[in-house]
């Protein structure tokens, strides 16, 4: 188990598949309490960047440091401090929500996983459906279960790939509130999203990605949507 880190540093990160460049010399950093948004069109490289940050993928060039530790040196201890909500949700459709959370909780070494799972589901408003198979859930409900899965082991770094997809008003607000809560506890959050209006005001860092390149890093005036359009236009 490594110590909690306060800073995530990405240096000149590149990743290619044969001739296709998914990421190109991406450099940025963020600190504890940051909510960094990865914004960009489809195919910009957001999912690839998240996968690298989650140590699922190795970069072709460049590196990531979690505090002072690299992904390789961190190993399993580092993975215990990372929580990820993937695009495909990472849930076993045949199992119930409760079983899913209990399994992953135990896998992450969370003490008393079964009751923690129950509590998490109750908090997400899914208490009644906790013992139903996930395959019967709507996309939005599955998203909520998947989010609880990512947060169950109280990670230091939270990586979210399109977390607002399929969520209704109430769930969106709940998620935003939850993210702010985690932010208050010093968690670093990196989230990729298309929902600019939702995250406007939530983000402390804005990273525009296009064709694998980071276009602009900065919080400025005007609405997020305007800034996004401007950044993409200058590409």
């Amino acid at each position: 188990m490594i110590e909690d880190f306060d800073r995530l540093t990405v240096t000149s990160l590149s990743r290619h598949y044969g001739r296709r460049k998914a990421l190109s010399k991406v450099t940025f950093s963020c600190s504890s309490g940051d909510i960094a948004g990865l914004l960009g069109p489809n195919g910009a490289g957001k999912s690839t960047l998240l996968a690298i940050l989650g140590t699922l993928l190795a970069p072709s060039e460049g590196g990531v440091r979690y505090g002072d530790v690299t992904a390789e040196a961190g190993g399993a201890g580092l993975r215990a401090r990372i929580g990820m909500l993937g695009h495909d949700l990472f849930l076993y459709p045949e199992l119930t929500a409760h079983e899913n959370l209990t399994f992953f909780g135990r896998l992450y070494g969370v003490p008393d996983a079964a009751s923690r799972a129950g509590a998490a589901l109750a908090r997400a408003g899914l208490g009644e459906r906790a013992h139903d198979a996930v395959s019967g859930f709507s996309r939005g409900m599955r998203q909520r279960v998947a989010l609880e899965r990512a947060l169950l082991h109280q990670p230091r770094l939270l990586l979210l790939d399109e977390p607002f997809t399929g969520l209704d008003q109430a769930s969106t607000a709940a998620l935003v509130a939850r993210l702010k809560e985690e932010q208050g506890r010093g968690v670093l959050t990196v989230l990729a999203t298309h929902d600019l209006d939702v995250v406007d005001g939530l983000l402390t860092r804005e990273l525009f990605l296009r064709n694998g390149r980071l276009m602009e890093v900065g919080v400025g005036e005007g609405s997020l949507r305007e800034r996004y359009r401007a950044a993409i236009a200058t590409a």
Partner: protein, 219 residues
């Protein structure tokens, strides 16, 4: 093509061109006469097939565990060599069997083992070609397993065969045949070394081109 490769190829070519005369000069084998002489190509091919398999397996291990990307180029080149020399072995074997015993395939232990190992490397090449991105690592795993399997293949096929009538394609060798054999072995070895290093370098250059392509895109 490097200087060394040119010399290797020239020498190999010359030696192979001369080899029919040298083979002709060798004494006849007692039971099979002229037909046995295919052995002078069959045996070196079989040895080099095994050596290529060994190189492929070891390079794959270095690539997987030592994480040296150049090792992968050598593994791929060696696997291709294994398939090529395997084909020569598997064609000359039956040709010999046909003339010596009247049937194409006699389930000889060594030939059967070679067939299995050859198939492992063909599967490796299919994986590299059609497996999509990331198949270099997958192939390395496959080649490593293939190499580890060699003793098991030989033992199991051998014991399996001893339960049937024995027909060995490779008899023991009288001394006078040693000369031409080593001549052919050397010729094939030069050919193998030249082709292996050329193919490995070709692969490395392909990888380099991809990198340059990517770098140029960035400018």
């Amino acid at each position: 093509m490097s200087r060394l490769n040119q010399i290797e190829l020239a020498l190999a070519g010359a030696m192979l061109a001369v080899s029919p005369w040298i083979i002709n000069a060798a004494p006849y084998e007692s039971t099979m006469g002229l037909v046995q002489k295919i052995f002078y190509y069959h045996m070196p091919s079989a040895w080099l097939f095994l050596i290529a398999a060994l190189v492929a397996g070891v390079s794959s291990a270095i690539f997987l565990f030592g994480r040296k990307p150049t090792a992968d180029a050598w593994a791929l080149a060696a696997a291709e060599m294994a398939v090529v020399f395997g084909i020569i072995t598997l064609v000359t074997g039956p040709l010999w069997a046909r003339k010596a015993w009247g049937i194409w395939w006699v389930w000889d232990a060594r030939l059967t083992s070679s067939l299995i190992l050859w198939m492992i490397f063909v599967a490796y090449l299919l994986l590299r070609r059609y497996g999509g991105p990331g198949s270099d690592k997958l192939g390395a795993g496959m080649a490593l397993f293939g190499l580890a399997n060699v003793p098991f293949i030989f033992v199991s096929v051998n014991v399996w065969r001893t339960l049937h009538p024995q027909t060995s394609v490779v008899p023991t060798l009288p001394v006078q045949m040693g000369g031409p054999l080593w001549f052919c072995v050397f010729a094939f070895l030069l050919l193998f070394l030249a082709l292996l290093s050329m193919r490995a370098r070709l692969q490395q250059q392909r990888v380099r081109i991809e990198q340059l392509y990517l770098a140029e895109d960035e400018a």
